[in-house]
Structures are given as structure tokens and as C-alpha cells.
Symmetry: C2
Subunit: 384 residues, 2 copies
């Protein structure tokens, strides 16, 4: 297949900010791209050759869209998997596969998959209904405190809650869920593994999430993680093993915990470019977006080493502001060394809405970390 000719067509389900970055970071390959997204104002819209508006959960829409393309990928997991399965059976290359997406879409299934494949993860119980948890606590099957996770459609911290008392159970959604043992950890880490259609694999350096000392919120994504070589190696091995267990093709973002006693546990995975890999655009020899494209087309994978160290800061809407977005002090952060803002192009800001991110790179990680603190102090996503 000649990917670099206009005969070849790549389809992407979802046209959000990930899809936009996927597209603009790979325009250099001049590949023909088709995008399906429910919103007429999808950020990807102007970065692709053909845009179609439609429901990603609708069988017919996804199937019809997929029939036009040679290779189909996603930038969001919540798509109609049955349609993907039919497309696969009829010869379309779908990466990630319908099988992987089914396993990942449901967090209970995902956790069982880790158990079945000897992939380290925190112990858990699965419940068809949240109402069953109280019984399990009564009979000792679940111990307080624990982490409740909705099995389906949780996003960015929604669908996850630490349950410390019976009272905390009251407001939980009723559906399928898991109760995961609350394991104290030293670090939250992530590793992006790329695995190509030919089976070639390449693993990115480990990144570390630095939390705000008071608010329980990731402030900085740091690469390389400030951990021992041994722990880094272990994290990369676990991530690679997960990618192979899923028989995944594309990039797989593996979120990990480093426990107090330096064990590595899988938290969850995303079978696509991920927030924990945004720094690769500026810091790596090959960005996660380019790597995803290389992988799903069966092209050789690019080098995953860092050129420079990096810190990534998410740009989220400030509390108290809703309306037409304004990036206050963006000029002043652009005056700082090695600072690149990425604006996702959403017109309206809301508190905590992801509006963009900023990457800070430097030869020296501690310099980048200092500059990141200045960035965080300066820029504010508000409305006018």
C-alpha cells in the first residue's frame, strides 16, 4: 500500500483536540485523512481532507464512514465497536482493534484482563450495581477506604471516587462498577508504548505526574520521571507487556502507580495518543502522534529518545469564568525560554475545561521545572 499517494485514505473516529494534533503533526506525510465527529465545530475539521458530521456511537454511521477508508483509527474510545468489528471482518484495518476497545471501554473488563494476563494491578471487586457494594462491605469482601470506579464512560476523573465511609456511597451512580483497593503510592507514572502492525515495539521514557501539594490535582507532567533507573525499567517493562498482551497496534498510554515499596501497578490504559505524551511533540525525536501513524500504517517506528527534558502543564478554564475564552498573559509565557503554548481552539471556556496545554523544554530538567512554575503562575484561561 502506498500511503504517500492520494489513493490511500486514513479515517479517524473523533475530531477533538487529540485528532487535531494527530493531523497537524503528520501533515508532513501528506496522507489523505477522513474525520467523523458529532460536532460541526470539531477542532479537527479544518485539518483533514474530508470531514463528516455524525454520531460515533451509531452503528450505521461508523460502518458507512469506515467503508470509505483503508485504515481506521480513533482519538476517543467511546465509539460503536460492533461497527468496527464488522469492518474488520470485511477487510478494513482497524487500530486499535474492536477487541482491544471492548476490553478497555469497560473498566471492569479491563481490570480482569490485567488479572488474566499477569499484569500487575491493584486488587479489586466487580459489581453489576453500585448497590451491591454495601453488602460486600458488611460481609468483609470490600474494606473501607477504597476507590470506586464506574465501569463505563468515566472521563478525566469523572467516574472515580475515593470512598472513605458508608455515607460516601450515597451519591454514587447506580451502574456497573469496581471497588479497588486503595494502595498508597509514591508516584503516578505513565509510559507510552508504540507497537506497529508489523509487531515492532518502541517504548518512550517514563513520565511522572507531579501533584499540587494541597489540591489533589496533577500540576506538571515531567519527563524523564525523577525515579531510579530500576523503577523506570520496571515501568517500561510492565507497559510493554501490556501493549503485547492487548496485541495492540498504535500507541498505548499506560498509567501506572509506583507503590511505597517500589512495585509498579497498572492504573489504566488508553489505546491512542494521550495527555501524558503531549511533551513528545517538542521533546522527543518522534512525537506520539507521528508514532501512532507510523504504527498503524506498519511503517518503521521512530526513535523514542528525548532530545531535551520537558515539563507539560495543562491549560484548563479558571474557576469563575464561563464564556468567550481569553488566554491572559499568553504573551508573557511566550517570552520565556523553551515555552510552547498549544491552543485547542475551543471558543468557550468553563471552569476546569481542557483548553490547551503548554510544553516547556530545556537541556536541564530542573530549569524546565522552574520555568513551568513561572508559566503556571502567569497564564490564566478566562473569559472577557
Amino acid at each position: 500500500m502506498n500511503y504517500f499517494s492520494s489513493d490511500f485514505k486514513l479515517g479517524i473516529l473523533g475530531g477533538g483536540q487529540l485528532g487535531k494534533m494527530l493531523l497537524y503533526n503528520t501533515r508532513k506525510f501528506d496522507i489523505q485523512t477522513y474525520v467523523l465527529d458529532p460536532s460541526n465545530e470539531a477542532p479537527s475539521r479544518m485539518a483533514c481532507n474530508v470531514f463528516e458530521q455524525g454520531d460515533l456511537m451509531d452503528f450505521d454511521t461508523v460502518y458507512k464512514f469506515g467503508k470509505q477508508v483503508d485504515v481506521l483509527t480513533i482519538e476517543i474510545e467511546n465509539v460503536n465497536v460492533a461497527a468496527l468489528e464488522k469492518l474488520e471482518n470485511e477487510g478494513t484495518k482497524v487500530y486499535p482493534s474492536s477487541k482491544t476497545l471492548r476490553r478497555i471501554q469497560n473498566k471492569a473488563t479491563q481490570k480482569l484482563f490485567y488479572q488474566d494476563h499477569n499484569l500487575p494491578t491493584a486488587p479489586f471487586s466487580r459489581f453489576a450495581y453500585a448497590s451491591e457494594i454495601e453488602d460486600a462491605i458488611d460481609n468483609g469482601g470490600v474494606t473501607l477506604p477504597f476507590v470506586w470506579k464506574a465501569a463505563q464512560f468515566g472521563y478525566d476523573g469523572n467516574g472515580v471516587k475515593i470512598v472513605r465511609s458508608l455515607a460516601d456511597l450515597k451519591d454514587l451512580p447506580k451502574g456497573e462498577c469496581i471497588a479497588e483497593q486503595l494502595i498508597p503510592f509514591k508516584n503516578e507514572l505513565a509510559v507510552i508504548v508504540s507497537r506497529s502492525a508489523t509487531g515492532e515495539t518502541k517504548t518512550y521514557p517514563v513520565v511522572e505526574m507531579e501533584f499540587h501539594p494541597e489540591a489533589n490535582q496533577v500540576e506538571y507532567v515531567i519527563c524523564p520521571a525523577r525515579i531510579s533507573e530500576d523503577v523506570a525499567k520496571k515501568a517500561q517493562e510492565v507497559a510493554l507487556k501490556a501493549s503485547q498482551a492487548f496485541d495492540h497496534v498504535g500507541v498505548l498510554a499506560v498509567e501506572l502507580f509506583q507503590t511505597e515499596d517500589d512495585k509498579i501497578l497498572i492504573n489504566e490504559v488508553a489505546p491512542r495518543p494521550h495527555n501524558s505524551g503531549h511533551q513528545t511533540i517538542e521533546a522527543s525525536y518522534t512525537s506520539q502522534f507521528e508514532q501512532h501513524i507510523r504504527a498503524i500504517l506498519g511503517l518503521p517506528l521512530g526513535k523514542t529518545d528525548n532530545k531535551v527534558a520537558s515539563v507539560m502543564v495543562n491549560l484548563v478554564g479558571a474557576e469563575g469564568y464561563t464564556g468567550q475564552v481569553h488566554y491572559k498573559n499568553i504573551e508573557s509565557i511566550m517570552a520565556m525560554d523553551g515555552v510552547t503554548p498549544h491552543i485547542y481552539g475551543k471558543k468557550e471556556t468553563r471552569p476546569f475545561r481542557k483548553m490547551g496545554h503548554v510544553t516547556i523544554v530545556d537541556q536541564d530538567l530542573s530549569t524546565a521545572r522552574q520555568i513551568a512554575e513561572e508559566v503556571k503562575k502567569s497564564i490564566k484561561v478566562i473569559s472577557l
Copy 2:
């Protein structure tokens, strides 16, 4: 002015490969972009918000296009300058300015400008008609051999010829031209200088053109140039002085000669992103494309240091092939460390047509240079 809102509009005259790279390397800023190009199949077409087809040399077309935007720039010099002048007078920001473009469009005027501003350049004579050169040789005003250059519309080696004998004069175009003293040089160098609307300046490291030992053709663009620190400093100073003399806003690519006795002479300049700066995408903290946008919007300029060393190879159509393009062995070069192909998206190849470029980056320049040789041996732009 809020550049990061949908109220702001940036216009670009020309929608070729430079415009395409300008656009996809700055999509992260989500700036609204308008492009004017004569071709309906312009590479920029799908990377901009609004595309208009029209003649860049037509006063009314350029003027009408420019009236819609807040800031207007170019990716090609041959545009209607009178229209830009009217737009400037009516308040549109035009970078590069009509004045700079007028000075640069005509090579005789450009050379006179260097003389007037004490910028070092090879001695030359100006002729309204090529037929006047023979008289000048007869009366000793011009000495053989010399370099003939057409004053207008010369591109990529067209419009330049070394004249060694009277016989060489026969086939020259008749129009305005210059006869430049042929000065033996050690190296052909280039420096990109960025100068913002606020007057801030930042200079990129010097690049070196490595020529094929037999064919008189640039094979590799090498950064940093393998020259002494003194010469590098001198080259950067001359380039910066040129940018200031033009009162230029944007990036200015300054092509230079390093003479046998280590003098630096200006060959010519381009007031826009340039082939000699393509490696900045992968190698620099800030790409020339991002820097151009920062400069013309009056945003702070980005850091111009290298993250890594680089070698750039142009992809031109192989001799003997015309028709639908095929990038032979592109997969094998993508398997090499630090190699990124850029495909410009032209459907048809012709001998020597610029079809793309490949950047090779590495911590170590000599490693990058070795890999570049492998790249050059492997990839071939042919038709099937």
C-alpha cells in the same frame, strides 16, 4: 489585538509548500488564516481556514484579499507590491513591507541596497539590457569570468549563470541584469534572523551548504556549520545587520559566502521562511515558521538554539521520471534514527522538481551526516 481569538485574521499570499509548513507548524496557536494562491490545488489549501484562488500579481485581487485580514504576510516574493503599499497606507500590517519587497524583488536594487548600507557583498555592475555587457567587457568595466544574474524573477538557480567567455553571453535573456565579480569561496553559508514588529531580534545558528564533489549542487544543509566560532559570529552579525537595514519584520534568510580569506559576503536574502531553515522544525527550540508568526504578530520571539544537530536533504524529482509521484524506499529511510521525511503533496514529479525534504537529527553532527548519506543513497523520487 487578541491573536488567539476568532476575531483575528492572518492572510498569506501564496499557498505553496512554504505556506503549508507555515500553517501546519502553527496550528497549535489556532490562529485564523486566509490564503490566496493562483492554483486550486495549492498545498496550503486544506491547512487554512479560508482559501481564495487568484492571481498574486493582480492589484485588485491582492488588495481585496488583503482588506479582509489584520496582518498580511507572504510565502513567495512575486506578488503585487503596489497593492501591499495601498493596504499599508490604509492601516493593514504588511510584513515583509512593500518597501522591503521592492528592494528584494529586483536583484540589482537589492545589490545597490547592500552597497548603500555598507553590507558586504561581491562587487558588481548593473545593466538595463544584457546586450550592454559586451561593451563593458570591451572597455574593461567587467572582467571575465563573472556571474550573470537576471534582475527579476530568477528562481532556484534559474536566472544565474557563470559567464566564462563571450560565447556564454549569447543565450542570456535580454532584460535587466547584473554582472557580479566571481569570488572564490570556501563555503556557502546561511543565517536566519528573526526580527519582530516590536524590534526584538534573534539569530539562528549558521548553516552550511555542502556541495556534491562533482555536480555543482547543494547536497546537504548542515547545522551548525562546520566553521570557526569567529566566522560564525561574523556571519550572524552581517545577517543581523541586513535584517536591521531592511527594517524587516519576520524571518529573513540571508545567504552568505565565506571567501578564501574568511570574509563574509551577502549573496542574497529571502524575507520569509526558507529552505535553509527547514531543519529548525526538528532541530531548534523554535521552528522558523513559528518564529515568523511570532515576529509578524509582535509576540515575543522564541529561543533559536539547537536542541540537536541536523542535516537536511532536499527531495527532488529524479532524472528520467515524469508523472504520478512515488517515493521509492521511503519506508527504509523512516527506519533510520532521527529521520523525518516531509512530503509537499505535489501529485506529479518532474526531473529536479522540489517534492519534499528530509531532516536528519542527532546529538552528534557527524552521526547525522552519516545517516544523511544513507538517506540520499536510498530514497528516490520517481514515477510508476
